[in-house]
């Protein structure tokens, strides 16, 4: 990247991120304001454009100025005049919008120097943030649809399948089954009608990589899907997207129209005798529809309930016809594997887990966002190098992978490599790639309860162990969180969990107990504290904590009483305030609003603090910390 000299007539482009995260930070308005300001100032050679998600949502809305590669964070509409005048006209970048490294505190102007990006290896997300997702020409300019041309002109379906097998690509939807093998099964079945389905029903709370891929680079998914359809011999394709992702639905629909017009989809693709008809199907909000047989039932217009396999979809899938279902990320990888060869792809990652994996890094982490890393990377590198560590100087407690069906891994696993086998061995799973970091303020019992409440609510109700068993487990966990747990609960939870895993039909039930079983394995002491001492060590379970205002610190400023949503605080000007424990809803607002120079509100569990019953005057001998009114 060469820096463009100011004043010269090099074409420069301002790319504003318009992924869902940045759009909610008003990035559409920012794009419009930039275009207006550039026009008003009469600046030449500057294009204003937008891209899909850059992955660094924490810093959003973000903008990149190419070709310099200057990266602006937290841009607002008010920053627009300064960016245009100072940077675009006078060539002086706006330093206060640079990214600040959370560890060193240094400002980093260039995109490529930011550790969050430099440690990543982007294959699936290769175009996200670099192209306008609503223009097919941008995708083509970066080598898009070349793989499809190669496949249709030079390769037989079997050759495509062999390439995929040689690459070692495994399904990125969770189970990690060989993609090439999956295609082979479907290819081997002789049938007039076959279907190709893209599973974009990303229902895991805390995961948004499929959404970002479809929003940021929809054509790569279409290209991968078309190649897959050619390999298995399907003439109809379905993309099953969650209706909760309206932007992704819109961009995929637009991409299909563009691809059809350009001859990459539809009848006789690129002049060959291969045709593919693409449909978008909006999911209606059922987590279980991520399971392939449930997903197909949903496309058929039924309740999305899984059925037993065999028959596998490869022999009897959608409407009883041979069907292949692949995840968005698997399909987005396919064009690259074809273009760059199986050997190149097989050279990345570990022996059994090839290539890269995408994680949605969220929770208590400095740099949350979307990351793509080679398989085999250590959890520590993800959390501390790319993620920038835990904010606020808090201590790492656990990392949860695999969404609500995964497990929580403690600090001792930080140095183990990330791949399908090692995660399963530790009691968790790769899943679709959610990665939630937890610090000392997160209660592990509560988090297990939370995940189970999700899978319990989403259980389709078909199998008894899942429907009734998870409900029983949830009841026990709720009881423990309320401080009403009994000693036998731990053994009972373990037994129930293992029975549910053994007795359920689909992956939802087979994995639902994972968060409970792993927290029992690694954080048993927290369960014991809840049950035996009626204490929540993380100060998180509402029934087991209380808030107090310390009389020696309160200056009677009244902010807490004003902000308390439950009117539970009494006091007055220069009076020590008192929380009515009966009325308190434990929302923590008082703790948050109490000025840090007073720090008068405290949160405790398993103990009581002596405080006055009624508000009393702030005594004279206390230091007059400013005029606190």
């Amino acid at each position: 990247m060469t820096a463009a000299k100011p004043g010269k007539k090099d074409r420069r482009t301002v790319f504003v991120c318009q992924g869902t995260g940045c759009v909610s930070g008003k990035s559409i308005e920012i794009t419009e304001a930039l275009a207006r300001a550039v026009k008003e100032q009469g600046l030449d050679g500057i294009d204003i454009d937008f891209t899909g998600c850059h992955g660094f949502c924490e810093q959003g809305p973000v903008a990149i100025i190419e070709p310099e590669g200057i990266f602006y964070t937290h841009v607002t509409v008010n920053d627009v005049p300064e960016i245009v005048t100072s940077h675009l006209r006078d060539g002086k970048p706006v330093e206060r919008l640079f990214y600040i490294d959370p560890v060193s505190g240094q400002a980093i102007p260039l995109y490529k120097d930011i550790k969050f990006y430099s440690m990543q290896q982007r294959i699936i997300l290769r175009n996200c943030g670099h192209i306008n997702p609503e223009r097919i020409d941008d995708y083509i300019a970066r080598g898009g649809y070349e793989a499809l041309k190669k496949v249709l002109k030079e390769m037989t379906p079997q050759q495509v399948i062999d390439t995929l097998k040689a690459s070692g690509l495994r399904g990125r939807g969770g189970a990690g089954f060989s993609t090439g093998q999956k295609w082979q099964f479907c290819y081997d079945v002789k049938a007039k009608q076959k279907y190709m389905i893209c599973n974009a029903d990303e229902g895991d709370p805390g995961a948004f990589m499929d959404r970002s891929t479809m929003e940021g680079d929809p054509h790569t998914v279409l290209e991968g899907m078309t190649i897959a359809a050619y390999a298995i011999g399907a003439s109809e394709g379905y993309i099953y997207i969650r209706a909760e992702y309206p932007l992704a639905v819109k961009r995929v629909r637009l991409a299909i129209k563009q691809a059809e017009k350009a001859g990459y989809l539809g009848k006789n693709i690129l002049g060959s005798d291969f045709s593919l008809n693409m449909h978008v199907k909006e999911g209606a909000g059922a987590f279980v529809c991520g399971e392939e047989t449930a997903l197909m039932a949903s496309i058929e217009g039924k309740r999305g309930m899984p059925r037993s396999r065999p028959p596998f979809p490869a022999t009897s899938g959608l409407w009883g016809k041979p069907t292949t279902i692949n995840n968005v990320k698997s399909l987005a990888t396919v064009p690259v594997i074809i273009a760059r060869g199986a050997d190149w792809y097989a050279g990345i990652g570990t022996e059994k887990s090839k290539g890269t994996c995408v994680f949605a890094l969220t929770g208590k982490i400095a740099n949350s966002g979307l990351i793509e890393v080679p398989m085999g990377i250590k959890l520590r590198d993800i959390i501390y190098e790319i993620g920038g560590g835990i904010p606020g100087g808090k201590k790492f407690k656990a990392v949860q992978t695999g969404g609500p069906s995964g497990g929580c891994l403690p600090e001792s696993y930080l140095d183990s490599p990330v791949n399908y086998e090692s995660l399963t061995e530790a009691g968790s799973m790769m899943g679709s790639g959610g990665m939630v970091v937890m610090d000392e303020d997160t209660c592990m019992v509560d988090i297990a309860r939370y995940f189970l409440s999700f899978t319990q609510a989403e259980s389709c109700g078909k199998c008894v162990p899942c429907r009734v068993g998870t409900k029983q487990m949830l009841d026990i966990l709720e009881r423990i969180c309320r401080g009403e747990g009994v000693k036998e609960d731990i053994a009972l939870l373990e037994k129930l969990g293992n029975d549910i895993k053994a007795g359920s039909l689909c992956a939802l039930g087979q994995t639902a107990p994972n968060p409970v079983l792993t927290t029992l394995r690694y954080f048993k002491d927290e369960y014991e504290a809840h049950i035996e001492e009626k204490r929540c060590p993380a100060l998180s379970c509402a029934s087991l904590i209380s808030f107090y205002i310390l009389p020696d610190k309160c200056q009677g400023c009244g902010i807490c009483a004003r902000e308390c949503p439950a009117d539970a605080i009494t006091g007055g000007k220069r009076l020590i305030h008192v929380i009515d424990q009966e009325k308190c809803v434990k929302c923590g607002t008082c703790l948050e609003v109490c000025p840090t120079r007073f720090g008068a509100v405290t949160k405790v569990s398993g103990e009581t603090i002596e405080v006055p019953k009624e508000p009393i005057p702030v005594t004279a001998e206390k230091p007059k910390a400013g005029t606190a009114t």
């Binding site: 229902g203 909760e244 209606a284 217009g301 939630v436 937890m438 988090i447 929302c587």
Partner: protein, 196 residues
């Protein structure tokens, strides 16, 4: 969530199905409107069962919920039993049986939002609007519901207000958002507590 729905379903299945819990049109004018809108949507689809979910999505997109009249009309059109339509409606989280409020409030309870106190935010909305999740205020101004994840985890806790995700919505932000709608109740309560 699901168990409630299935219980409801079972009640309705016993004997002759009644769909008793399902909201009907309040008056003849509303009924005509519902029928007309439903028919407009139906015209876009051929009579195949695979279109049931897109049809339901279309009708809800127009009316904001699925009233009894629409479901009967759809069943009739596709040539399937009304209870089959109802069973699909109650299976998927997206479909609503209650008429919507003027403004929709969707509190995200995804993992990241949970960890950053999404449930506390939900409590605050419930307290301020005086309704439970899944309900609509009596004046039909607001409806409150939860959503599993909207994928804006970096802005947690998130509340989607009228389709627009709002980040860092903590109890104090709830009041701020309500004031933005000129929702007076929140304001009045505050004044009361201050004058105490």
């Amino acid at each position: 969530m699901f168990l409630d729905k299935s219980r409801q379903l079972r009640q309705n299945c016993s004997g002759q199905y009644t769909m008793s819990k399902v909201n009907s049109a309040a008056n003849e004018k509303e009924r005509k409107h519902i029928v007309k809108e439903t028919e407009t949507i139906l015209k876009r689809f051929t009579r195949k069962k695979q279109y049931l979910i897109p049809i339901l999505q279309g009708v809800q997109g127009k009316l904001g919920y699925l009233p009894r009249e629409s479901m009967l009309k759809i069943a009739d059109y596709l040539g399937i039993a009304a209870i089959d339509v109802y069973s699909v409606v109650t299976f998927y989280n997206q479909f609503r049986l209650n008429p919507p409020g003027k403004h929709s409030i969707r509190v995200c309870l995804g993992t990241a939002c949970h960890m950053k106190g999404g449930y506390i935010t939900l409590d605050a909305w419930k307290r301020r609007l005086k309704i439970d999740s899944g309900e609509t205020t009596p004046d039909r101004e607001f409806d409150l519901d939860i959503v599993a994840c909207v994928g804006c985890c970096t802005m947690a806790p998130v509340t989607v207000v009228d389709e627009k995700p709002e980040g860092q919505v903590e109890p104090t932000r709830v009041d701020g958002l309500l004031l933005g709608f000129g929702y007076e109740e929140g304001k009045k309560e505050k004044e009361k507590s201050e004058s105490k």
